[in-house]
């Protein structure tokens, strides 16, 4: 099997199988699709150029199993201490009929509304299956919006169409204000110390919440009087205690980035069309076959993937084996311009690069200066005693 796309133009291939069937074939006939969660959707936005991730996620391939089958297992895992802590904190925040949570929403995003009292509603959202739960949530949202009372939806289920197939998302909570506004609440167990939290963690939470906002906007669009707040409420433990505190986070930027990415995900269809018919990512298949299958989809590996993608170690290994400069970091790759491999860049530094390329000229100059400075170094007297003269 060639690892290259067939030379036949995609439009001439018979489009008899609809996209869903095609994706199911890619996943493997006996493999259930792995549902896309908000974390995965948010991560897509982190590396939009990666076709491999877009296709595998779009097809619902279990990347963890795939990475293990490829021999480069992912290193993701969560400590049970963190899970226990997260669950117990969330339970505490939502305890007492959500009184504390509603108080926080009113305090930070209340916009002058009456404070929520004992009359606040907490509808029961249990239903069978994700579809049933999503329908139940949509109904509850409609009722709450027309009721004009504070309503807490605990773990609602939202549906969002991603690349032609529905993804079901479960935010920690959604609060409906008396004026019909909906606010996404994200409960995290990292602390907010003196009003500030780890920016990396807040950023991840904001990207995740933006996906929920997008999903809610679809529902709200069909409902007169409903609107989704672009400020979400981040609830965290205060300082070193277990007491909740909150801060509103504006997710407009994250929302528009994610929306753009999701719209571009229709690419999945185009990506799939370019692949050989019998390609399959079923983790039960032999490693060499999977390796060929994965190689057939172009990736855009960057070191940042290590924190976000299960397949990152495999992609890194391939990028390193292919001598790609991208494995050393995005900024470094950008700096080297058209020189895509370590070999090319080093050749340019040695003077064998394209003559008129400014990057190659700069590298040559850099190599001259570096060699000159290193030659000078041994001539300097190495001090016997390395301690400072003070």
């Amino acid at each position: 099997m060639s690892s290259y796309p067939p030379s036949v133009p995609p439009q001439t291939t018979p489009q008899t199988t609809p996209l869903r069937q095609r994706l199911a074939d890619l996943r493997g006939p006996a493999v259930p699709p792995r549902p896309l969660d908000a974390r995965a959707l948010a991560a897509l936005a982190a590396n939009p150029g990666c076709g491999r991730r877009a296709l595998l996620d779009g097809a619902g391939v279990d990347k963890t199993a795939l990475a293990t089958a490829l021999g480069s297992p992912s290193a993701f895992g969560q400590s049970q201490f963190a899970i226990v802590r997260g669950n117990s904190f969330e339970a505490k925040v939502k305890g007492d009929g959500g009184a504390e949570l509603l108080r926080l929403v009113h305090e930070h995003l209340g916009a002058g509304a009456e404070p929520p009292g004992a009359a606040a509603l907490v509808p029961d959202l249990t239903a069978a299956g994700p579809q049933g739960r999503a329908a139940r949530t949509a109904l509850a949202l409609r009722e709450a919006t027309s009721a004009g009372a504070w309503t807490l939806l605990d773990h609602p289920m939202l549906a969002l169409e991603v690349a032609g197939s529905p993804a079901y998302l479960e935010p920690d909570a959604v609060v409906v204000h008396p004026d019909g506004r909906w606010t996404v609440v994200e409960i995290k167990s990292f602390p907010m110390i003196d009003g500030g939290a780890d920016p990396a963690k807040v950023g991840a939470a904001a990207r995740q919440a933006a996906v929920y906002v997008l999903a809610l906007e679809n529902t709200a669009g069909k409902l007169p009087g409903a609107a989704v707040g672009h400020e979400v409420l981040l609830v965290c433990p205060k300082d070193f205690s277990n007491l909740p505190t909150a801060a509103p986070v504006d997710v407009r930027r994250e929302r528009s980035v994610t929306r753009r990415q999701l719209e571009r995900l229709t690419r999945v269809e185009e990506l799939a069309a370019l692949l050989p018919e019998d390609l399959c990512f079923d983790p039960a298949r032999p490693a060499e076959e999977l390796d060929r299958a994965v190689s057939a989809v172009p990736a855009a590996y960057a070191p940042e993937c290590l924190a976000a993608c299960e397949l990152a170690f495999h992609c890194r290994q391939r990028a390193r084996a292919a001598d790609e400069v991208g494995a050393l970091g995005r900024s470094l790759r950008a700096e080297l311009g058209g020189l895509g491999t370590v070999g090319e860049a080093l050749a340019a530094a040695a003077g064998a690069g394209p003559a008129e390329d400014p990057t190659a000229a700069a590298l040559r100059q850099a190599a001259r200066l570096r060699a000159e400075a290193l030659a000078l170094a041994p001539a300097r007297t190495p001090s016997e005693d390395s301690a400072c003269p003070c």
Binding site: P303, Q365, E372, C390
Partner: protein, 526 residues
């Protein structure tokens, strides 16, 4: 990343070994640093799991909390940490030398010299990684508002005096570590990454084990594998039970360690305590100590190996000058503590924040200049960027200024291959180091192929003839910089009482009161 460092990374990829980024050591290293390797409990802010601490690499002090969620055990740990660290920090407080400091006289507003004292040396804390520095800051924040029995007799949870004191010192060290070039609190990964380029990305360089493997692969220079292979092993290799062979440098632990080893051991400890079984609790406690030590010890050794590698480099000439600034910082905080000032506030007021930012900017400029002057390899980066040039003097023409007392203003022609950012017709000053002091010259014109004509402006004595050795001669190789060799501070900031309304106005009287300690609630225990 500067192109020169990029090139070093590319070379490292090719050779499989780290490549030098510096020819001298750019940070002061104490002869007796205190190494601290902390571990924390996942998902729990400020709940330490354990630590190795000490100044003797062969004899670290091991501190372990068998149940981090138990508040009393946590406080015992912090008290013990304070007992270990505070004597080290205090040991430098009383050895002083006379010094002078310029201060603004409050009455006349003039700058006057004040006789004062400066500590001869200062403590130096080394942690494994950047995350370790942030953990020191977190521990500092969690301790500095705690109250002792003396301060607050009503407090149901008083702490030993040294705990809030350590909190204040940790806060000070963490705050100081944000000043570029400072060395009171350093992380091993940042130190190593400053001096060596590896064939991996800067993201991967944050793993101390992997970084060390690139620089000094196990087995030495002629060892079996390349640094790249050793780094991969340090990063990912696991034993048959799924445990990492090289534990992470913390403070976060590996989830597999938490779930498979730590959690069951902790459950046994809890069960023994619940059953009031002293022996079983002791046994479980010992197991926990061994487990935690097993995670800490490799990192402890790695930090010391990092220090060995760095000590093998000769110290940069100007690191001493920067260490003196650290000594001033230490002395000033010592004075604040002794004067009974309250702990650092939760948030800086506008003037303090602006002052800190201004200091960091000034120190960054100073550090950039000093590192370049100390190290030809760093200077090469500045030359590549067009901010400096080196070349041979081909001609010196004596000229004098046109005044009643003519002063020497010789024209010096330097031929260089570098391409400095100078332009004909634009006035520009350049500087060279003359016996450690900057001599200024003015750019006159380009001449011929690579020729640059400069006019020397100062440091030639007071007579008509320049002092010997102050004017370069034909054939000398010189390096000129377009940047100044010393940093200038920014404009003076107002006193806190004069804070403009745009920045929140003067601090209210409310903030002058002693900040309240964090309330102790039942919610603290899960």
């Amino acid at each position: 990343m500067p192109l020169l460092n990029t090139l070093a990374r590319l070379e490292a990829v090719r050779s499989g070994r780290a490549r030098p980024l510096a020819t001298v050591r750019h940070r002061h290293l104490s002869g007796r640093p205190l190494v601290l390797v902390p571990l924390t409990t996942s998902g729990e802010a400020g709940a330490p799991l354990g630590a190795l601490v000490g100044t003797d690499r062969h004899d670290p002090c091991l501190l372990v909390i068998p149940q981090p969620r138990d508040r009393d055990l946590r406080w015992e740990f912090l008290a013990e940490l304070a007992r270990q660290v505070m004597p080290y920090i205090d040991a430098y407080a009383d050895d002083v030398e006379p010094a002078e400091r310029t201060e603004t006289d409050p009455e006349t507003g003039k700058r006057v010299k004040v006789e004062t004292e400066l500590c001869v040396d200062a403590p130096q804390l080394i942690v494994p990684s950047r995350a370790g520095v942030e953990y020191v800051r977190l521990l500092g924040r969690s301790m500095r508002f705690r109250r002792t029995a003396e301060e607050d007799p009503e407090n149901p949870y008083p702490v030993p005096t040294q705990v809030p004191l350590l909190g204040r010192w940790f806060t000070h060290l963490a705050e100081r570590s944000r000043v570029p070039g400072s060395a009171l609190l350093l992380s091993a990964t940042e130190l190593l990454a400053r001096h060596w380029a590896t064939g991996q990305s800067s993201v991967e360089d944050q793993h101390l084990g992997a970084l060390l493997a690139w620089i000094a692969p196990p087995g030495g220079e002629n060892g079996p594998g390349t640094g790249a292979e050793a780094a991969l092993r340090a990063e990912l290799a696991r034993d048959r039970d799924g445990q990492l062979l090289v534990p992470p440098a913390g403070p976060a632990t590996d989830p597999a360690f938490d779930n498979k080893l730590l959690a069951p051991a902790m459950a046994r400890y809890d069960a023994a305590r619940a059953a009031d079984d002293r022996d079983a609790a002791d046994r479980a406690g010992r197991t926990l100590r061994e487990l935690v030590e097993g995670q800490l010890r490799p990192t402890w050794d790695a930090v010391w190996r990092s220090l060995d590698l760095l000590r093998a480099l000769p110290a940069g000439e100007r690191t001493g000058e920067r260490w003196t600034r650290d000594r001033w910082s230490y002395t000033a905080h010592r004075d604040r503590v002794r004067a009974g000032e309250p702990p650092q506030p939760r948030r800086d007021d506008a003037v303090t924040a602006a002052q800190k930012l201004a200091t960091r900017e000034t120190e960054q400029v100073r550090l950039d200049a000093q590192e370049a002057l100390d190290d030809p390899l760093v200077m090469a980066g500045r030359r590549l960027a067009g901010e400096a040039f080196a070349g041979e003097v081909t001609e010196v023409v004596m000229e004098w200024s046109e005044s009643a007392r003519p002063r020497p203003r010789p024209l010096v022609t330097v031929v260089t291959e570098d391409r400095p950012q100078l332009a004909d017709g634009a006035a520009a000053k350049v500087f060279r180091s003359l016996d450690g002091r900057p001599q200024a010259a003015e750019f006159v014109r380009f001449e011929g192929a690579g020729g640059i004509v400069l006019r020397l402006l100062d440091k030639m004595g007071s007579g008509r003839e320049p002092a010997p050795g102050t004017v370069p001669e034909k054939g000398d190789r010189l390096c000129w910089t377009l940047f100044e060799h010393d940093a200038r501070g920014g404009p003076k900031l107002p006193d806190p009482e004069q804070t403009p309304w745009t920045h929140g106005g003067p601090p209210g009287s409310a903030t002058a009161a002693l900040p309240l300690p964090d309330p102790v609630t039942d919610g603290d225990i899960l």
